[in-house]
């Protein structure tokens, strides 16, 4: 049983016009087995929340705390956070030329587990996870994200989530840019990990579409750097019908 606790998180970013406040006091608790959806309009700070938890150097935390099972996440380096059990599926996965997917996955798995995986079971696990995500086996010998289509990049992110088995996974707009078939494959992958590992999921999205495939236990509406409303999955249905206008109007 794991708990990710975010308390009054405040984050700024340096821009050409000076320091900009993005997160203005975020409170959120994600426990094992729970699925939380964070929904909000563009520019509301959803992705900043994801990258701040992962430790991207672009963002400066100016206040608040983030803990995972009581450990201070903000004091950890990026790789330490991942080894502690956090995972971020990125909206724009980065190309790493000359590094094959299989080499990358094995290096990451070795780092997370603290020892190299047993070769035979590892190859089997990788092949079956790739098969379930409908990825060609030749994929393993391609360079990380190089020349991948949008759908391939997202499948590759979920493949990592399956193999690295995090305690809490943050999925940053994993649904954006996917057609319905790819969305279904990716969602099935997430649900499989949920069923098999009791992972806590923080699903960041702009659209309600993905929530038809991945059922959230909690929905949080994110506007202007903080959560403005919380509810169950019925809140997503309401957003589907009404959009964000109500919240955006209120904050403006």
């Amino acid at each position: 049983m794991s708990t990710l606790e975010i308390r009054n998180l405040q984050v700024t970013v340096e821009t050409e016009t000076g320091t900009k406040e993005i997160l203005r006091g975020v409170d959120l608790t994600v426990k094992s087995g729970e699925t939380h959806a964070i929904m909000g309009p563009n520019g509301s700070g959803k992705s900043t929340l994801a990258y701040s938890i992962a430790g991207h150097p672009k963002y400066t935390v100016t206040g608040g705390t983030v803990t995972l099972d009581g450990e201070d996440v903000l004091a950890m380096k990026v790789d330490e956070r991942a080894r502690a059990g956090l995972f971020l599926a990125m909206q724009y996965p980065v190309e790493v030329p000359g590094v094959t997917v299989s080499n990358f996955l094995r290096t990451a798995k070795t780092a997370i587990d603290g020892e190299a995986p047993k070769l035979r079971t590892w190859v089997k696990d990788m092949k079956s996870a790739m098969g379930e995500l409908r990825m060609d086996p030749a994929f393993a010998e391609r360079n990380v994200n190089e020349g991948f289509s949008g759908g391939e990049k997202k499948r590759h992110e979920i493949l990592q989530m399956e193999l690295l088995r995090p305690k809490v996974a943050i999925l940053d707009e994993t649904d954006s840019g996917l057609d319905v078939d790819a969305l279904r494959v990716v969602s099935e992958g997430v649900n499989r990990v949920k069923d098999n590992t009791d992972v806590g999921v923080l699903l960041i999205t702009h659209y309600t579409r993905i929530l038809r495939y991945i059922k959230p236990d909690f929905v949080h509406v994110f506007v202007d750097g903080k959560i403005v409303e919380e509810g169950g999955s019925e809140l997503a249905d309401r957003l589907e019908a009404e959009g964000y206008d109500r919240y955006v109007g209120a904050s403006a």
């Binding site: 790789d79 956070r81 980065v94 290096t107 190299a116």
Partner: protein, 403 residues
């Protein structure tokens, strides 16, 4: 783009008013001088086209015509049976047939060398192991000349290794016989204070194939000029280079592929990483396709990865084409900084920063290292790159396990 050179400044002075006009373009790369006479090449001041990137003040001694210091180097050879290893006088008919000094350092090297070393691969011999020539610099000035003669239809790999210290000028002359397939590797793993200026000239016979590989990791100042020519149609030159410059190092690689024979092929790929504020690398790739070289297919590429602010990589590809009847001609050059987003992505997967950096740099070199195809060279090279990146033995093992 044409090359700039200091040429007849008086003749053009009237037509232009600015001082830059004193330098007019060569009509062609073909006009660059070659000669065996030291007097034909004045001591460079640093403004000449072929020396403008080189800190010539650090090379002073190598421009003077003088013999080698007694005991300046030790040379070991290791060759499979059947390979000819001979010391030859410089006036021997087997020396200089494919070599033409093209700058001051090359001509003083030639003039200062007493005996050349010949590595002869007999015609139709297929060697099952590489020939090694290991040069170890002890102290002082050394002039050297190596002749690699690959007989017709032979197949061989020759590896020239440089270690130690001292001041070195050298010529390397590579004759690839008709239908021969030669891989030649020159490795510069000098100590931090070594100076090394070398000219490699290759003459490739009809349907001959040369893979010329340059690996430069050490030395204070290393400058390797490689010139490839073809003596018949159907020849192929593959020029591969890997370099890693640290603070204070100057590494310069110049290539000139002279396509005169028809239906020849050339492909050049050099990749370098720079680490430390004062690291400086230079890559100049000239390709000339003469009017007679119909059916030529050529491509050259240089990529540089800058790991630290303040390091400087100069990259200058030049392509000169005198006939339209070619298969293809192209070049690419790019210099980029180490990408922090790549580092973040890898670290976000639990990979510690040092291993992540190593993965990225190894990945950068991967394409060219894969093309080297000589395990004796590529394995050592990757280990050396890991060492350059500050890896300890323990980390190396971890990375190896992960690979």
């Amino acid at each position: 783009m044409s090359l700039l050179a200091q040429k007849n400044p008086e003749a053009t002075a009237g037509a232009h008013t600015d001082s830059a006009a004193a330098f007019v373009p060569d009509q062609s790369r073909a006009e660059r001088k070659t000669s065996y006479a030291v007097a034909d090449f004045p001591v460079p001041g640093g403004r000449e086209e072929e020396w403008r990137f080189t800190p010539v003040d650090r090379l002073g001694g190598l421009f003077s015509e003088e013999g080698s210091t007694e005991g300046a180097v030790t040379v070991e050879t290791d060759a499979p049976e059947g390979v000819e290893l001979l010391e030859l006088a410089m006036d021997d008919e087997r020396v200089g047939t494919a070599y033409r000094p093209a700058d001051r350092a090359a001509v003083t090297a030639y003039a200062g060398t007493e005996r050349a070393l010949l590595v002869g691969i007999p015609a139709e011999a297929e060697l099952d192991a590489p020939v090694f020539v290991r040069v170890n610099g002890v102290a002082g000035r050394d002039n050297a000349h190596l002749v690699v003669d690959a007989g017709r239809h032979s197949k061989a790999t020759v590896i020239l290794e440089h270690r130690g210290t001292g001041e070195h000028t050298a010529g390397v002359e590579i004759r690839v016989g008709d239908g021969a397939d030669l891989t030649f590797v020159t490795v510069q793993e000098w100590d931090d204070d070594a100076l090394h200026v070398a000219q490699n000239d290759a003459l490739i016979g009809r349907d001959g194939k040369l893979r010329h590989i340059v690996v430069t990791l050490g030395g204070e100042l290393v400058r390797i000029s490689t010139n490839a020519r073809y003596s018949g149609p159907g020849g192929s030159f593959e020029g591969l280079g890997v370099y890693f410059a640290d603070a204070g190092q100057h590494q310069e690689h110049r290539l000139f592929v002279d396509h005169e024979a028809p239906h020849c092929h050339s492909n050049v790929e050099y990749k370098g990483a720079l680490q430390g504020e004062t690291a400086h690398t230079v890559w100049v790739g000239d390709v000339l396709i003469r009017a007679s070289a119909e059916g030529t297919d050529t491509y050259e590429l240089n990529r540089n990865l800058i790991l630290d602010d303040g390091a400087r990589a100069d990259s200058i590809p030049n392509l000169e084409i005198e006939t339209g009847e070619i298969v293809g001609a192209g070049h690419a050059s790019a210099t980029g900084r180490f990408d922090d987003e790549q580092l973040f992505y890898l670290q976000a997967r639990g990979i510690p920063e040092d291993i992540a950096r190593r993965l990225v740099v190894r990945g950068f070199f991967a394409s060219v290292v894969a093309r080297i195809g000589v395990p004796e060279v590529s394995e050592r090279l990757m280990a050396a790159i890991d060492t350059e990146l500050g890896g300890t033995a323990a980390q190396e093992t971890a990375t190896e396990a992960a690979l």
